[in-house]
């Protein structure tokens, strides 16, 4: 063809971040082009899915979400191992929901004991997600950083109010951090700068842009992630050149559209397939916006998404 497809002039590159240790350590990031734009750049590390594990039995989950884990749902260690051994998880994301002061409010030592046993039981890398209460997380995630020494885990969310306490420990114990800001490019950049000033090495940071589920603000996350990537890759905004992690499972599965059964609203169709597709479609949208790690729930949704990643990167 006489006509040439216009190429984007990429001037930046996403940093490569390693999580985990030993032979199961994985790398994320490293992109030199927009997501899956392999005709004009490289994606040396395909996006990864982290299997979500809660640190207490999530009784409020839909039965079709519990079903794949029903024999292990009361034991985070067994749950994480099943995800790894049966479903082939390459990453586990342990959510410390039980620490939430507005919920069960378990004390820090009890919660970190679970983290330690999960970390010791699995060989794949671990992400540890706090209870999203700034103060509690400050205490909790510092202990996690300490107890998981040598495992190179990713801990978060670090926010403006607690990044110093958690960040210092993460630096001291060589862990990766997930810097979290509410759907805003400039706030994300600012927190990354603050973490840099604190001494956090560039290859130990991930960005959590805050994730909205399908029908519940997905478009805000989608566009902020596209803007992050545009700034990082074409505007030499070095403080945005980090991999993106999306904690999306709970955002999807808490919506009423994943809970209502076909018998109560026939036109919404089969509840299990619908919820799985709502999770997978959310994931697909976040992937084309730039996600490097997706925290997901249902093994069938994860299989679908991994297949699409393979299709787009083969």
């Amino acid at each position: 063809m006489a006509f040439q497809i216009p190429k984007i002039n990429y001037t930046g590159k996403i940093k490569e971040v390693s999580i985990g240790s030993g032979s199961h350590a994985i790398k994320v990031g490293g992109e030199s082009c927009y997501p899956f734009h392999l005709f004009e750049g490289a994606m040396p590390n395909p996006p990864r899915v982290a299997f979500e594990v809660w640190d207490y039995p999530p009784e409020e989950w839909q039965e079709w979400a519990i079903e794949p884990y029903k024999d292990v749902i009361n034991d985070p260690v067994a749950w994480a191992k099943k995800s790894q051994d049966t479903y082939g998880a390459e990453l586990i994301a342990l959510l410390l929901k039980s620490a939430d002061p507005n919920g069960m409010n378990r004390d820090v030592e009890q919660v970190v004991a679970t983290v330690k046993s999960v970390a010791d039981a699995i060989t794949v890398p671990l992400l540890v997600w706090g209870c999203v209460n700034d103060e509690k997380d400050a205490a909790l995630l510092r202990r996690v950083a300490e107890l998981c020494e040598g495992k190179n885990v990713a801990i978060g969310p670090l926010v403006e109010k607690n990044y110093k306490q958690i960040g210092a420990m993460a630096i001291g114990y060589n862990q990766v951090v997930m810097a979290s800001t509410p759907i805003d490019v400039n706030l994300a950049k600012q927190l990354n700068i603050l973490l840099g000033n604190l001494g956090m090495p560039d290859d130990r940071m991930l960005i959590d842009p805050t994730t909205g589920g399908l029908g519940y603000g997905l478009e805000y996350s989608y566009s902020v992630m596209e803007r992050d990537r545009m700034a990082a890759l074409t505007q030499e905004d070095v403080k945005l050149q980090y991999p993106l992690v999306c904690n999306m499972a709970h955002e999807v599965w808490k919506t009423k559209e994943t809970k209502v059964k076909k018998e109560d609203n026939p036109k919404l169709g089969d509840e299990k397939k619908r919820s799985i597709l709502m999770e997978a479609v959310t994931a697909m949208s976040l992937l084309v916006a730039g996600a490097d790690i997706l925290i997901m729930r249902h093994p069938d949704a994860i299989t679908l998404v991994r297949d699409m990643i393979k299709e787009l990167t083969n």
């Binding site: 063809m1 006509f3 497809i5 216009p6 899956f36 734009h37 392999l38 005709f39 507005n102 919920g103 909205g212 399908l214 029908g215 519940y216 603000g217 997905l218 478009e219 805000y220 989608y222 566009s223 596209e226 803007r227 545009m230 808490k254 919506t255 009423k256 559209e257 076909k262 026939p266 036109k267 919404l268 169709g269 089969d270 509840e271 397939k273 619908r274 799985i276 597709l277 709502m278 997978a280 479609v281 697909m284 949208s285 084309v288 916006a289 069938d300 679908l304 998404v305 297949d307 699409m308 299709e311 787009l312 990167t313 083969n314």
Partner: protein
Amino acid sequence: MGLTGIQIFKLLPKTNCGDCGSPTCLAFAMALAAGKAELEKCPYVSDEAKAQLSEASAPPIRPVTIGTGEYAVKIGGETVLFRHEKTFFNKPGLAILITDAMAHEEVDRRFNKLAELQFERVGLNLRPELLALKDTGDKEKFVDLVKRAAPTPYGIILMSSDAGTMKAALELVKDKKPLIYAATKENADAFGALAKESACPLAVKGENLDDVVALSEKLTGMGLKDLVLDAGARSVKGAFQDQIFIRRAALLSKFKPLGFPTITFPCEMADNVMKETLIASLFVAKYAGIIVLSDFEGENVFPLLLERLNIYTDPQRPMTTEQGIYPINNPDQNSPVLVTCNFSLTYFIVTGEIENSRVPTWLCVMDTEGLSVMTAWAAGKFVGDAVGPFIKKSGIADKVAHKKLVIPGYSAGILGDLEEELPGWEITVGPREAAHLPAFLKMWKA
């Protein structure tokens, strides 16, 4: 589009006659550049200038409409690669594949899916719009299928490579402005003529982009204007790249032969509906004009409709929910009363959590012009002397036997002012996060 006000100004008569409604030619030029005026308003502009201006102001991706009436689907007309740069305008049409080899009952079931799968959300009706009718080689059967589809209100895509069959089908439904699919290297002359005769939009199918460019040039040369492109790839990776290439060529290079909307076929790219849905979701985000699926069920169509709504929401304008009182879980006179803003995301999340709690509740939604609670508070729209009068006028006092109101945690600062505005009311500050509402509501007492 394309030209600046100054460039346009140079082509105008520069007489400042004012007949166009603008005081000067420069003001008129600026209005044209901003898309706020039309060139026809100027009675004195030369034909030559007119031609130049209309050429330059033609949209880089031509808007094409499939179908007529209520179910007309307008596609194309996009101006950006990323939605945050402005917005995406015309949502991709969703089509269900129906072949002439299917039994009548199956065909009817598929027609009925379009009637059934309609979902109300934020005052919008989300629904798929199109039928893709496919010829499998028997002209009579295909014509019969088209006959059956003709009385339905839906937009139609006619899929056949045979000019005779297509001609017979067009005789039946050309007034419904179906999309003719597709002109190929082999049949371009005949299909171009059919599209011209019937004044219907025409899809172009090539084996690759080069083919599509050649066909598009040939057909526009025949005087056709409304084209839809299919660059042929049926691998996920190849089809994704085609979408990117076509959009970029049109917008970044203003390359006319690719300045048209696209049609995609997830139905030909997967062997199961789940995977097909994910492929479709990729095309919702990245640039499809039409997406043809092998079947419609609530479980696969609903997620795609939501994604389409999200991606095509104008990022410059927040979505809003109508002001009013929303009863949730069948409340009565002893149920709690909550007030919040009308940013639709807030409304969705708050109602979702109230529904989860199963506590019967009255939710008063106040018009804050789509601003969230904190932003509305900062802008002086969600403050005591606004919320107070709203609650008084809302009529909620007639619905409950108590005078207790719960305000969002993030608006705790308005408590004092609001108490002054609403004498006799007991006002409580609720949780900051909607996720904590169920626990809060379960503790609430009238």
